[in-house]
């Protein structure tokens, strides 16, 4: 088999553009809106970005833009983790670029930002692109995690662009990559290099979001894929009636993915890290909360359930946060002595002895497996790799212990048997949903229009996304307007503000209003597999999160 039947037919899908982008490309003109500011720390951002701070928002409207037909070469870079739809961003850029001038060339830098530093690229032509349209993955040119941060790197970028006569770069990435795109844009302007830089908002985590970026691409497909699986497991739980499933969901620090999946599937439990932090919930109180629900359902004869756990949870639990930080510091300081110890239990003892008394107590109540995971290989910054901690197993085990205590006390009489799951890699490279296919294609097409309007330091912005594609709005926003100052590695840095789940926002509020009912009763909904060909209400709707956010 060469390619799958679905892949074959998806090639033929024509993504839907906003009405304005369906016009002839010379008949779309940028309209500049009011000048912008920053998310906060406006003065400091302004000082750091003298050329790109305060630029106006831009909207595309009918008009005349003959300048767009000028010959241009564009470079594109995929940065960071995969998200469904990346290939469609590139398709959109390509189609707009060729619609503007058949002589234009699209350079795809290979393997992420390192591709431009190493001048490793491939020219994307129609034939090559055809095999990637409407498919998942970033394999068209690959991605990578190298960061473009230093002036030395920026100069290499400028040189490479000049060698290929590249007029503009499109950087497809998350908050960090777009922060770096803004710095690069500012640098190119300051140095008069004449190379434009446009960003595109990518991340399945959903944490690159604000009033102008309604959703980052890939979030829709990833959450629908996870929700398919959660729904299937819920239906299994409700049929077999004998397991509690603890499902950990990818999503770094923010809990957007877990929240959206909860809204889609109505599980018995969904933890939201931002709430845990705000309420300073301890690990023990979280375990008690879940055990209470297990016991209540058992009273109704329901010895089964489904609990969703965001990947980043443990970093938001106050005492575990302290524990992780103490371990990180300790292992950095005592690296040599620690590495000499081969035996797992001795390593645990070594660490336990050196933690503060309070924190040692927290460490000691954790199951041995989790203790070991906390002492595993550090990431390049010397931090524990939180995504490798099996929070699902941790909670399942602690809930089980709690329940056996309750059984002895006579406050619980049910049966508890658990299964654990982690969903992440299953959704990052799925075929994009129609929504992500359309949105990404529009983002790419729109990115080229921003280039053709002579702009730099802008993020491609397509909005009004809860409406049908035809009614979407297209334009751009200065990246600086999403920035604030934050401490990173001990230094004040201008960065795009990460969007965490807002506890007073409508999606969380809706969840909070319903969760007690969902906990006790069985209100599961089964979204099923992502559909591409059926009725619009099945195939084209985006997330419940966005629908709730856009309810006025």
């Amino acid at each position: 088999m060469d390619i799958s039947p679905l892949q074959r037919v998806r090639y033929a899908y024509q993504p839907k553009l906003p009405a304005i982008l369906r016009e002839s490309i010379t008949k779309v003109a940028p309209q500049k809106g009011e000048a912008t500011s920053a998310q906060s720390d406006a003065d400091r951002i302004k000082a750091l970005f003298p050329n790109t701070y305060g630029l106006p928002r831009v909207s595309f409207l009918s008009g005349v833009n003959t300048d767009i037909s000028k010959k241009r070469n564009v470079g594109v870079i995929l940065s960071g983790g995969q998200a469904p739809g990346g290939h469609n961003v590139i398709s959109g850029i390509f189609d707009a670029l060729k619609a503007a001038n058949r002589e234009n060339t699209l350079y795809g830098f290979k393997g992420g930002p390192s591709g431009i530093l190493e001048d490793s690229y491939r020219i994307i032509d129609e034939e090559y692109l055809a095999a990637f349209r409407n498919t998942g993955g970033f394999d068209i040119i690959g991605s990578g995690r190298t960061k473009l941060e230093t002036e030395e790197q920026f100069e290499v970028c400028a040189q490479v662009c000049k060698n290929h006569e590249i007029d503009a770069l499109v950087i497809i990435g998350g908050d960090d990559s777009n922060t770096n795109a803004a710095v690069l844009a500012e640098y190119f302007l300051a140095k008069g290099h004449g190379i434009q830089v446009i960003g595109c908002p990518k991340t399945i985590d959903g944490d690159l979001k604000n009033e102008s970026i309604e959703i980052s691409f890939g979030f829709d497909t990833a959450t629908k894929t996870y929700s398919e699986l959660i729904g299937n497991i819920e239906r299994d739980a409700n049929s077999a009636k004998k397991y509690w499933h603890f499902i950990k969901l990818m999503g770094r620090s923010a809990s957007h993915i877990a929240l959206e999946c909860a809204l889609e599937t109505q599980p018995n439990v969904c933890l939201i890290s931002e709430e845990v932090e705000a309420k300073e919930q301890s690990l023990v109180s979280i375990v008690d909360y879940i055990a209470k629900i297990v016991a209540e359902r058992a009273e109704d004869g329901n010895n089964f359930g489904v609990a969703l756990i965001p990947e980043g949870l443990i970093e938001f639990i106050p005492e575990i946060k302290v524990l992780i930080s103490q371990i990180n510091n300790l292992l950095a300081k005592e690296e040599k002595a620690f590495n000499k110890i081969a035996d797992g239990s001795e390593r645990i003892a070594f660490v336990a002895e050196r933690l503060s008394k309070e924190t040692a107590k927290v460490f000691t109540i954790l199951p041995e497996e989790i203790q070991k995971q906390l002492l595993m290989d550090r990431d390049p910054h010397g931090n524990v790799q939180v995504s490798r901690i099996e929070t699902d197993k941790l909670l399942a085990q602690m809930v089980e212990e709690k329940l056996s205590g309750m059984k002895k006390e006579g406050t619980y009489t049910g049966k508890f048997s658990s299964m654990t799951h982690f969903f992440g890699y299953e959704g990052r490279c799925a075929f994009p949903t129609n929504f992500d296919a359309d949105y990404c294609y529009s983002l790419g097409y729109n990115a080229f229009l921003l280039i053709g309007s002579g702009l730099s330091g802008y993020l491609s912005s397509v909005t009004n996304l809860a409406a049908p594609a035809e009614e979407w709005k297209a334009g751009g926003i200065p990246i600086t307007m999403m920035m604030n100052m934050e401490v990173r590695h001990g230094e004040d840095k201008p960065v795009i503000k990460k969007a965490l789940v807002e506890l007073d926002g409508k999606p969380f509020q809706y969840f909070a209003e319903h969760r007690d009912k969902w906990a006790r009763e069985t209100c599961y909904t089964y979204p099923g597999a992502v559909q591409y060909f059926g009725p619009a209400e099945v195939c084209d709707l985006t997330t419940v999160t966005l629908a709730l956010e856009q309810t006025r």
Copy 2:
């Protein structure tokens, strides 16, 4: 949200029947074929089933069957693990039963075979059924693992049926449940109870298969759901280019699921338990095999890959089989002494000291986590719960160790980082594919026709399944013809022969011919999510396994 958009539209799906079952129900008549025998041990099976052995195959053809309109009540039971399509079998029975006579009543016994023993049932009417048509799960009446095996149970069944004037039972289950259905049918005939019993072939594992049963229902949906996820992970692996993913797949002892998923997704490695057993491959040789592929791919700069591992694997590895058997015996014998030991490491030492010398060596090379899993709670028969052994982690860890040895020797220079997954519960309750929706509905409809033809001890059989539904053939086969004698719990029992992967069959042969290429190169195919509404080549095709089997 009440139900998902997909669920709403799936209710309206009208499953496709074979052409013959589209006729008016009184115009379909059974044609009896030649008398049948047993799989083997014919004389002994004949002696055990004097009333149901040697019955003819039956095919449905155009004809006259006025007797089918006679008023009848039917009971239905879901037995064992969930499989997508169970609700459609019930829909098919219901629609045929009502087409035959509006006065007929369908009793659904609740929670599996125990439902009939406890006379716990619900009457299935159109309104109740409507909410379950074309959906996954067994929640319509629930399922269970109680076995109907004793005369005492059979008498209760007869009594319950007589109380409700139930004329026939349909038992939807796997090989064991259908074996028991045959015994029950024989018993009812021998005792003159006048209650018919018809079986339906259910199991995602795919091991209930023979010349007359081309596929068990649920296998298509489950393997397509797993293949969706495997394909997504392959695409992620091929985009990120930094992880080896070890994916364990449900499927009990047979490797049909792993094989079908491999044919769908073309991974770098897929182990087939039946081959491991036939070639008497040791754990070490399996690890060497995978490590060799990892090293070869690393030579090409590809430090990533995907390996599929069937759940039942470790029981097929000769020395592990011996180990498991020794541990099972040891823990049965020394249960008390063992249970007094609380500490995990001491438990391991306790067992290691008491194994044979050779086997202790095997036990000792296993990672500690796996040792612990082998000593975990036994199943009700005192056996280790093989599905709880993390074979994925075992292999990933042992391959990593092997590679670090090879690195020291200079025969490997790549980077190895692994991720592990287990897919099982994700697929057992998915919305059935169009194939499973059609096939199950046809099986149920056909089951009622068998009842209406006065037959008992038959399995509902729908064949020619690689062709469009219209061309499918409908009929029944005596369950006894699938039987042989096997030793179960130390006793000779008549049982339906489990179908393992045949190493000389076309599906395995195709895999074996291609696996070296798939191992070294990157030939991934990405099936994507199951589709219900698109072109027939995307929505209606069944498994690659069946397509290959039916290639003449």
